[in-house]
Symmetry: C2
Subunit: 191 residues, 2 copies
Amino acid sequence: MSTSSATGGVEGGIEDRRDQIITVAGRLLEEQGPDGVTMRAIAAELDIRAPSLYKHIADKRELEVALIADAFRQQAEAFEEAAQAGEDTIEAFAARYRVWALEHPHLYRLMTDRPLPRSELPEGVEARAARPLVEAFAGSIDHARAAWAFAHGMVTLEIAERFPPDADIDAAWRVGFAAIASSTKPAIPNR
Amino acid sequence: MSTSSATGGVEGGIEDRRDQIITVAGRLLEEQGPDGVTMRAIAAELDIRAPSLYKHIADKRELEVALIADAFRQQAEAFEEAAQAGEDTIEAFAARYRVWALEHPHLYRLMTDRPLPRSELPEGVEARAARPLVEAFAGSIDHARAAWAFAHGMVTLEIAERFPPDADIDAAWRVGFAAIASSTKPAIPNR
DNA sequence: CGATATGGCTAACGGCGTTAGCCATATCGA
DNA sequence: TCGATATGGCTAACGCCGTTAGCCATATCG
């Protein structure tokens, strides 16, 4: 059952349709936001009727889980790409995090809004996306979590347009990340 | 048909209908989450039918705006209460922020999830709730925003149960806030 | 006393996710 | 080759949702 990952191709036809459905759902999410992702809209895009979707997926939630798994993969790739490009500093990580989230705001919210359906996610997917951050703060998991929370807070507030229009968001990023990053270097006693 | 039974089920003085509706909506939100706040449920609570609600409010959005305004007031009161109790440190502010958010998770999300309907909010309501933080970081608005983002990130991740079950959330709060708070204290004359 | 405003009501619309049940086609075992 | 079965479509419909239209009893007021 555990919904093998998309490219598995182990069994036949169903997997194809299922992948199409997930792909379309993802596209609708990015283009129109969560309200655009309706079973009827997905079906229309595939030239079938909504009830037929249920021959391939159990319910809408399963669709969301698949999108979340995909989002983790995308995010991880973005980070790994950065690492390969030699950008392995905490600041580079922060920049990638922000850029990815702002490029996929609906997907980002989908994957952070609610409790993670960990048992239904392909294993390792969460850890893989988190690894760069954890490594960057190798010394302290608490600092890693603080940094994550800061980045997440900045990103969600920016996505939700909660900063005043004249706010210098770049400056807040710089100041916040510098504070958290520098406080974890034990070599530097203090400032 | 209709009834002279004036005692519906809600009490609390001589509110007009509009206030009753908002009160009930707020209670449903806190007790059952956003999915529990339906026009039919609100109406049922007041022993009327859903369409009658529209004699008092324009639409559901207006209801949400009212709840958001209320949430800001509550939050501001919580902070001011802390100040009067002599807790005016940044750390005390952080603690109050966290406690209030965790006590009203649905309300917190309602007020931070989406763009603020600033033009429809009573004036000053946002500034009042933000004042303690701004004052605590009097020197730097950027630090204030960074601190807010950190607190917001911590709180939303905690509400969404996104930290692993064994995570030491208190510790993350401590290191994060200490880092941001301390980076602004040692008079860094700048910006 | 009559006009008007207020605040209920029922019926209904179009949307949602989802289920039930039907049917054509493809596949496969005997 | 034939029949059973699985697959993946379909329509109809259910019970929700927010919302509108239109009716009507009561209260208020000139």
